[in-house]
Symmetry: C2
Subunit: 321 residues, 2 copies
DNA sequence: GAATAAACTCGAAACGATACGAGTGGCGGT
DNA sequence: ACCGCCACTCGTATCGTTTCGAGTTTATTC
């Protein structure tokens, strides 16, 4: 079929073991090196990672399991991870589980059968059993954007609660009193934390009103609907804080439709890099997560764990822009 | 280390070959099936795809090589491919070559050494040597969004030239006479085709003016700069046609800054799903590529080729919304 | 209940690479 | 000229599955 190490051996008159040594960076005699390199070029040899992996128990692949591939959050992070991991010789196999638990588990088994050396997951549930199979098989796992109840995996998250509290405080400082909160499903770790940060700030200022809180579907439509609902029920709302990208977009659209000018009629703080909309709404504040950093740190942590490092928790700081 | 087929054999008292048969869907005796299934559950067996691939020369993996991961175009397509391919039992290894030729070649070798069964590529250059290694190794290749000079690979593209001509004609019908064109680097197949469609329409109407054409960097900034330049040099421009997503956004931002109202002061046709901006600019026309379909068709074609099908070219239709 | 066909099951040999212990050659020192 | 040592190089077993031809059950038929 294709060119193997044996063909190289035959071509050069050396033993497989020698070729293998060369391929793995073990020094070989100069004249042999030349011969081998010439043979590789001539025959177009490409190393069979499968045979290699079978023997070495390393595949040079890591699995990336996320609930939704096509959004800014995921792709920014993945791009960064991919780059870093490639540099280290790892390829990434990406699985999108569509925020579906059954599919998540299935994808996990799939990735394990692909012999991945490690796993970076953004789990749908925060339950450790989501990735227990991986842990049982001694596959290092890095969880991003969520905290789980397991200490056998690493976590890379941002200081959700704190940044959310700060963002809210900023609105309060501005003199706002009826600050609405729009989040995704608060059972999700991230949304829950962000909501708590908001609550802390509001309670401290004596402004908390649970009627001003909406958690809806994490989507442009969800943000749109929640905003409409807020404006309808509490017309004198003087600020809105949205805790994720998609809903921020939806909310801006709704405000636009209602004719409320951000920065003039109403204060607004969104989430994630909303560069595009900023062109239209220059006054907008936004909570910026260090997305590329999350990706990079997650990748680094995984590499370290593959090398035998212990799991650890890393909290990155977001900033208000 | 981990549980193998041999452990299952020992546990059940059967031969490896029988277990293997069961795993591959070959019928086994009912009582053996039960025994095997019980053993798999008890031991937590997960099939080692590497050993399997070594023997079968199939890996159950396809490589996806694209110039830029983090944009709407790529992710929408990838999401769709991933779903379809997973269904068929394939995983995808994604490589982002950052629009870099050297990196593209390197990624290709990388993917080949990972023993992918097929390749979906959006090549940086249109030169066939970009993927000749793959073809030489009998790996089926599907090229998306570009036409290349090779008939050993499949192509999945949209009717760029035609849709571009139609979009331009529509502007002409509207009574526009000084229609500017903004595209990415026209050496890229897609941009070139789109430019030609525009030219055809303009020439036919006797309106062509090469000074009204800008090709710049395919990015938000590039679109912004090109628009500013157009408005500066040809202030009475009465329509702008932008042929890709990122530049559309940039162009809208520039128009906004210049105080030109789309649909009132100037006609505008953008590219790809600009849902977000549409909320601000409801009058905007846009050329919609069937992104998910591209992904699905590419995946289907690849699967077919892996199964022995011949390469073929598929042209999908875009529409003006 | 024996013969025959059909349906499973078996053992051992691959697949392509690496690991390991043993073997070989060249070289400096005496 | 011999010894010892270092630095490669070699042959072979092995990784976990599948494959294949041959062997064993089971079912069917008369």
């Amino acid at each position: 079929m294709s060119v193997t190490i044996k063909d190289l051996a035959k071509e050069t008159g050396l033993a497989n073991a020698t070729i293998s040594a060369y391929l793995n960076g073990v020094p070989v005699r100069e004249y042999n090196r030349v011969k081998i390199e010439k043979a590789i070029k001539k025959l177009g040899y490409i190393r069979n990672d499968y045979a290699r992996g079978l023997k070495t128990h390393r595949s040079g692949t890591v699995g990336v399991l996320i609930p939704e591939l096509s959004n800014v959050f995921s792709t920014t992070i993945i791009t960064e991870m991919e780059e870093y991991l490639r540099e280290k010789g790892y390829g990434i196999i990406v699985c999108d589980c569509k925020t579906d638990l059954r599919r998540e588990e299935e994808s996990l088994r799939f990735l394990l059968s692909k012999m991945v050396d490690g796993l970076i997951i953004m789990p749908v549930s925060t339950d450790k059993k989501a990735f227990s199979i991986a842990v049982e098989n001694n596959i290092p796992v890095v969880v991003i954007d969520r905290k789980t109840n397991s200490d056998e995996v690493s976590h890379v998250v941002i200081d959700n609660r704190e940044i959310s509290r700060k963002a809210t405080e900023k609105l309060i400082e501005k003199g706002c009193e009826r600050i609405a909160l729009i989040t995704g499903n608060t059972e999700v770790y991230t949304a829950g934390e962000r909501k708590e940060g908001y609550e802390e700030a509001m309670r401290a200022a004596g402004l908390y009103d649970e009627k001003a809180v909406r958690d809806g579907k994490l989507s442009v439509e969800g943000g749109y609907a929640a905003t409409k609902s807020i404006l309808n029920e509490i017309p004198d709302t003087d600020a809105i804080f949205v805790t994720n990208y998609e809903m921020t977009i939806g909310s801006i659209i709704a405000l636009n439709e209602e004719g409320r000018k951000i920065g003039k009629d109403i204060e607004f703080t969104g989430f994630d890099k909303v560069e595009i909309t900023k062109a239209f709404v220059p006054e907008m504040r936004t909570v910026n997560q260090p997305l590329p950093e999350i990706g990079k740190v997650a990748a680094e942590t995984l590499i370290d764990m593959i090398g035998g490092g212990k799991p650890r928790d890393i909290i990155l700081k977001a900033e208000i822009v």
